[in-house]
Point group: C2
Chain length 104, copies 2
């Protein structure tokens, strides 16, 4: 139920850039916006989307909001992908089997 919004959130390059920035650890909004090619409000909007997708968590520190990666959304996405990957491998294996049994 959550992997849909996670995929949608990570599709946008700028938003993905915001997300990847948090890989180096928790950061305030200003810190993230620093060095980004878009305005700070744009970053805020992206963070909102990421948060709603369960990809990011936020807690306050005085006037600042510290953002960090939320494993939850990431986990949902991975589970979905894995389940997909398995059946892809199955099909792949089946194709190999079929080809092998042809035994040209």
């Amino acid at each position: 139920m959550s992997y849909e919004s996670a995929l949608a959130a990570l599709a946008d390059p700028t938003r993905r850039g915001v997300f990847e920035r948090l890989r180096s650890g928790p950061q305030p909004v200003g810190g993230i916006a620093k060095g980004m090619p878009v305005s700070r409000p744009a970053v805020s909007q992206h963070l909102k989307v990421l948060k709603e997708a369960g990809l990011v968590r936020e807690h306050r520190d005085g006037a600042r909001r510290i953002y960090e990666i939320d494993p939850q959304g990431l986990g949902a996405l991975r589970r979905w992908l894995d389940q997909f990957w398995d059946s892809a491998l199955d099909a792949f294996q089946a194709a190999i089997d079929a080809e092998t049994s042809e035994e040209r």
Copy 2:
């Protein structure tokens, strides 16, 4: 280099529906379009995007084009996600360590 287009491709619900249909095995375009809420040309366009993202392969069978899941794009996506997941866990672990060492 390929995970970007894979994410973009899987973000759209209809296109994801097309993709998920292939989980039950290779299918011709008409078979995929059957039961979808959009027209057949729309499905064709989605398949084109999926193919360019490395998520889908195609081979001809007479007048038909049989589409199937391509493990390549799926693999690229998974590698990207994993690398991300690792650092998220690292950060998570670091947070736990910090909290534990506080030893309230």
